[in-house]
């Protein structure tokens, strides 16, 4: 999956590199806060370890080689932010010192293998493992499942990066300037290779390594799971605000995808745009005609400004206003029903208790 120089256009490389800068800075802050001054040697050794895991090469039939990336394994052992830095450093060493993977394409490689892979894989791991005990089989299987999904997500990203090249960069007569394969070819090729071979290589290695560590050196698992004692099952924890915000943010980011879908939503158009013949009507029903427009004081009518000016800005602003309004209503309802007050009261109780 290491993309060499020459396959991606400089614009793609620059975009991916720019996307990684905030990730790296956040990762450095997060890791530094958790492990203090210990983080330099810890990350250095994690990066060296990540480099070693990538040495296990398996040739696959399409001519490239699949290798265990181990990003999800490191995310399980040290957390996803540490894994992000460790894999990034390993990729940089490979690109600069060993010529494996491109120097200009470094941002794209880091995005796929040091960002998408550990975070997607770790998410799947957390969801699958739940609050199971540290030494349970479920946890090892969850790590393997995370590896499988993580490497496939990374491969999908690589396939999209490859596949966009001939669409975006070609000469007037259709000669591809960078990677020549289209999305319809890169996605199946990468998916086939990674769903069948590389995914299982990574998952099997992760499963075996986590099982070994559970058996031989469980203390290592506690580095990233300090809150999980192997003996005592924990009570389920409340989901924090952060998770809710992350979920909402994801939905907000994905929402514009709806604009790509053809057609409109049934029953949401103005009466004038109704296809009367389709419903066996000869005229707009009188009640519909009368009440459809009785409220015409909307602040952002049609999800935009009046007169259709600044279309994109209006759309985004509508979205933000909508989210803020709904959040306020929900908070007000929660306050009215006493949900937040009860919780705060319970938290305060031990401090005030005699």
């Amino acid at each position: 999956m290491h993309i060499p120089d020459g396959y991606l256009s400089p614009a793609t490389c620059a975009t991916m590199g720019a996307a990684m800068v905030p990730v790296w800075l956040t990762a450095a802050q997060r890791v530094k806060r958790v492990v203090k001054s210990r983080y330099v040697p810890l990350l250095a050794l994690a990066a060296a370890y990540s480099f070693m895991v990538m040495m296990f090469n398996v040739p696959i039939p399409d001519g490239t080689t699949a290798h265990a990336v181990g990003a999800v394994l490191i995310a399980v052992l040290l957390g996803p932010w540490a894994a992000c830095i460790a894999v990034s450093v390993a990729l940089l060493i490979q690109a600069l010192f060993f010529g494996d993977g491109g120097v200009l394409a470094y941002g794209a490689n880091a995005f796929n293998m040091a960002f998408v892979m550990p975070f997607v894989g770790y998410g799947v791991y957390r969801l699958t493992a739940g609050r199971s005990p540290l030494l349970s089989t479920r946890r090892a299987v969850a790590a393997a499942a995370g590896s499988y999904v993580g490497i496939n997500a990374a491969a999908l990203c690589a396939a999209v990066e490859f596949g966009l090249q001939p669409e975006l960069f070609h000469t007037a007569d259709g000669t591809p300037l960078y990677a020549p394969f289209h999305l319809s070819q890169t996605i199946p090729a990468m998916a086939l290779a990674h769903l069948t071979v590389a995914g299982f290589v990574d998952a099997a290695l992760t499963l075996a390594i986590v099982t070994y560590i559970q058996r031989a050196n469980p203390a290592l698992l506690r580095i990233n799971h300090a809150d999980l004692d192997p003996a005592i099952p924990r009570t389920p924890r409340r989901l924090g605000w952060g998770w809710a915000a992350a979920g909402i943010a994801t939905m907000v980011l994905l929402a514009p995808l709806g604009l790509l879908a053809p057609g409109g939503a049934f029953g949401e158009g103005a009466p004038a745009s109704l296809d009367l013949g389709k419903y066996g009507l000869s005229a707009i029903p009188a009640g519909l005609g009368r009440y459809a427009d009785w409220w015409n004081h909307a602040l952002l009518g049609g999800y935009g400004f009046a007169g259709g000016r600044h279309e994109v800005l209006g759309y985004v602003l509508s979205a933000l206003v909508g989210i803020a309004a709904i959040s306020l209503v929900v908070l007000a309802l929660a306050a009215a029903l006493g949900i937040t007050r009860t919780r705060r009261g319970r938290e305060r109780a031990p401090a005030g208790a005699p």
Binding site: D5, R38, L96, G99, V103, T175, P176, P180, F181, Y212
Partner: protein
């Protein structure tokens, strides 16, 4: 007939592979991936030693400052990446050959190193792209009914092979002529935060420590086993156990290193020695490379028009 000690057991006399690298002793077996890992580990160490030897020769690029080389490499890589004409890429590639010669790399060695890589990773990927079912266009070499090699496919393939070969040559030139410690310090010239540079440097250092550890584990395993191995399943279990044990070693090592750093007054902020100044030759080199890159891109656009 060879002499045979009377009391020696049979297994001690059976030749085992691995005693001699040329396989003149013992039977030739397909190497398992355990053996391949050992070979890979040895290869990393050998390559690093070889690089240091080449970087120590007195050639043109070896005399230049690493920062100047890194910046000029990026400029030329960008130019190669922006170029859309095979002629321009061929000219840039010829330039790398001249530089390799001037840096006493040995042309055969340099060309082999680049072209061993290019067909493996690029040739196989590019070949299907020449056909009309991937890159539609004017068919110049008809093979079957209505399909064959297209002009656009061939042009695209030539372009990508030329670009990959040029890019790989440029990176190989940099890595072969620069000691890694200089290369590392040159990262600071790109405004990489010192903490990252420290992590990268230590990671590079410990790659070799861990490689040695892997090598020792696998060699010890080989030394302990007699007769045929337990099959692929046992090998896989062994690889997983080694990787797991390696993580334990790496973590213990990181704790030791941290304590050693703290004992030497490390308090969370890395400190570096004062930088060396770029001399006029380095600046001239950056100027020449930047001019070459700009000329290449302008020439490319002119040819394209």
């Amino acid at each position: 007939m060879s002499r045979r000690p009377p009391d020696a057991p049979e297994w001690l006399l059976t030749p085992e592979i691995g005693l001699c690298p040329c396989c003149c002793v013992g039977r030739r077996r397909r190497g398992s991936f355990v053996d391949k890992t050992v070979a890979g580990a040895a290869n990393i160490l050998r390559e690093a030693m070889c690089n240091d030897e080449v970087a120590g020769r007195s050639g043109l690029l070896q005399r230049l400052d690493a920062r100047a080389k890194l910046v000029s490499l990026l400029a030329l890589l960008l130019a190669a990446s922006l170029a859309h004409q095979v002629v321009i890429l061929a000219a840039l590639y010829a330039g790398t050959l001249i530089l390799a010669r001037a840096s006493r790399l040995g042309l055969a060695f340099f060309v082999r190193r680049v072209w061993l890589f290019v067909p493996v990773f690029t040739g196989v990927i590019v070949i299907p792209a020449m056909f009309s079912f991937v890159t539609p266009g004017r068919i110049v070499v008809p093979i079957g009914d209505g399909w064959g090699l297209t002009e656009q496919g061939l042009a695209g393939a030539a372009l990508i092979v030329a670009r990959v070969a040029t890019s790989v040559s440029l990176v190989v030139l940099l890595t072969l002529t620069t000691r890694w410690i200089d290369l590392l310090s040159s990262l600071r010239a790109l405004r990489v935060p010192p903490v990252f540079v420290l992590v990268i440097g230590m990671a590079h250092r410990y790659v070799f420590a861990l490689t040695t550890a892997v090598d020792e584990m696998f060699t010890a395993r080989k030394a302990r086993s007699i007769g045929p191995r337990g099959g692929a399943r046992a090998d896989r279990a062994f690889v997983a156990a080694s990787a797991g044990a390696l993580f334990g070693k790496a973590h213990a090592l990181s704790e030791d290193v941290h304590q050693a750093m703290v004992a030497r007054a490390y308090r969370g902020t890395p400190r570096t020695l004062s930088r060396t100044r770029l001399n006029s030759a380095d600046l001239a080199w950056v100027g020449v490379c930047a001019a070459t890159a700009i000329l290449a891109v302008m020439g490319d656009r002119a040819l394209g028009a």
